[in-house]
């Protein structure tokens, strides 16, 4: 997968771990999941947790607006030049899986413009349970669901739930109000995912995004090792 090393043009191979100048590129982590599950809130919390130690940037994939990028800008989780919005032509899953060219352009431009980065978070537009990221675009992916979307989602499975490198069950603080059984969700997720990790989180709790941030740090340590 090092086709690009025979010449000095821009990178032609998406998954190549090195930039055209030979330096290691940023780790790319994708965050996907259904609409409203808390992807953008998780990205914002991750930025706040990691920005003091890491050089990071975010790519958002809104379906028809720039709302997610604007939310991150409004919350000032990162300086504006570190947030890029990709337009997806009504097909968010296409832009992260079948035709990743616009997203690759965005991640490469961020590193070209800002200098070497440690981490780029790529947030997908809200989609369905089958939407996963191409391995040509990200090195690892997080699938975010929430307790209010129905506690049967882990049992239903689908590529996002079963194969994502990390499954996040978000908004656990809402469980009592929507009648979701957290123990059942955790057991179903375990059943579907085997040894792959699952985090149950509430961004309103004191622990917040801590477990997910620790997982990201571990991935980054492995990437740079």
């Amino acid at each position: 997968m090092h086709l690009d090393h025979s010449h000095d043009g821009p990178a032609a191979v998406s998954a190549d771990a090195h930039r055209p100048d030979g330096t290691r590129r940023a780790l790319r982590i994708g965050l996907g999941g259904p609409v409203g599950s808390g992807k953008t809130a998780t990205v914002a919390a991750l930025c706040r947790a990691l920005r003091d130690q890491l050089s990071l940037a975010v790519v958002t994939n809104d379906i028809y607006t720039r709302e997610d990028a604007e939310f991150l800008l409004r919350e000032a989780v990162l300086p504006p030049e570190r947030i890029t919005a990709v337009e997806t032509g009504a097909c968010p899953h296409t832009a992260i899986r079948d035709d990743i060219s616009a997203n690759l352009e965005a991640v490469e431009d961020l590193e070209d413009d800002l200098g070497p980065l440690d981490l780029i978070l790529v947030e997908s537009g809200g989609d369905n349970l089958t939407a996963t990221f191409s391995k040509g675009l990200v090195d690892a992916q997080v699938f975010v669901i929430d307790v209010a979307g129905g506690d049967d989602i882990p049992r239903k499975g689908g590529p996002g739930v079963t194969t994502a490198d990390l499954l996040v069950v978000n908004k656990t603080d809402l469980a009592p109000y929507v009648g979701s059984d957290l123990a059942r969700m955790a057991a179903d997720a375990k059943e579907q995912r085997g040894d792959l990790p699952v985090v149950l989180q509430s961004l309103r709790s004191e622990a917040g995004v801590g477990e997910v941030a620790a997982w990201v740090r571990a991935r980054l340590a492995a990437w740079t090792a």
Binding site: S14, T65, G89, A102
Partner: protein, 224 residues
């Protein structure tokens, strides 16, 4: 050369970023100029004979080996709307990535070095065809066809148009695509000797104006 390479390059699923663009159809739908299959057909016909004919000729000329830098300048001069120039370069860059991985070729590498942020898409398309061992007619067919198939796909999403009706529009336009391709290849062959001024310079003012308006919308489904 293999005939099937043409199918690879012309496939709507070829991962070169086109799915996020409507070819001006989103602006035309919002303005009420496309409300159904009949409007889509007129829109596509207009696009085919104006910007489509120019793109097809640029692609054919690039496939014939006309200097791509001169062709890129010719494309700039034939695209009054800044928003459309930006879109064409974005799509050119994305196509370049896909083409270089699919059909590695020193001429693609050279153009990528020359235009790291993207050359005009029809120029890259013609060079990609050349890298794939295809000829000017093939390049012109790819360009002319995607110039109408892109808006047709977009309108299916924008208006929930019956997909069979949209495909019927493309089938009815096929004989006109043949004519546009024939003229495009003729012009491209003239450009080999006479330079890029021999290429057509048709334009559709409403496409240009629509693209400028569309680029300023806060909420839209497509990038252009």
């Amino acid at each position: 050369m293999t005939r099937a390479a043409l199918l690879v390059l012309a496939d709507g699923r070829f991962p070169a970023g086109g799915h996020a663009h409507s070819g001006g159809a989103e602006a035309a739908v919002k303005a009420g100029r496309i409300t159904g299959a009949a409007g889509l057909e007129e829109f596509c016909r207009g696009r085919l004979h104006t910007s489509g004919a120019v793109s097809a000729a640029l692609a054919a000329a690039a496939a014939l080996g006309v200097d791509p830098v001169a062709l890129d300048g010719a494309a700039d001069a034939r695209t009054p709307s800044a928003a459309l120039r930006v879109a064409a370069r974005k799509l050119g860059r994305q196509l370049m990535r896909a083409a270089r991985t699919t059909w590695p070729h020193p001429e693609l590498d050279a153009l990528a070095r020359q235009f790291p942020k993207g050359a005009h898409q029809p120029v890259v398309l013609g060079l990609a065809a050349r890298a794939a061992g295809l000829g000017p007619e093939d390049a012109a067919y790819c360009s002319a066809y995607e110039g109408v198939s892109g808006p047709a796909t977009a309108v299916v999403r924008l208006l929930s148009l019956d997909p069979f009706d949209a495909t019927g529009v493309l089938a009815r336009l096929a004989p006109e695509v043949d004519l546009v391709v024939r003229d495009a290849v003729d012009a491209a062959r003239r450009a080999v000797d006479l330079g890029v001024d021999a290429l057509p310079a048709g334009s559709a003012p409403l496409l240009e104006i629509g693209a400028e308006a569309h680029a300023a919308w806060p909420v839209r489904l497509f990038a252009s």
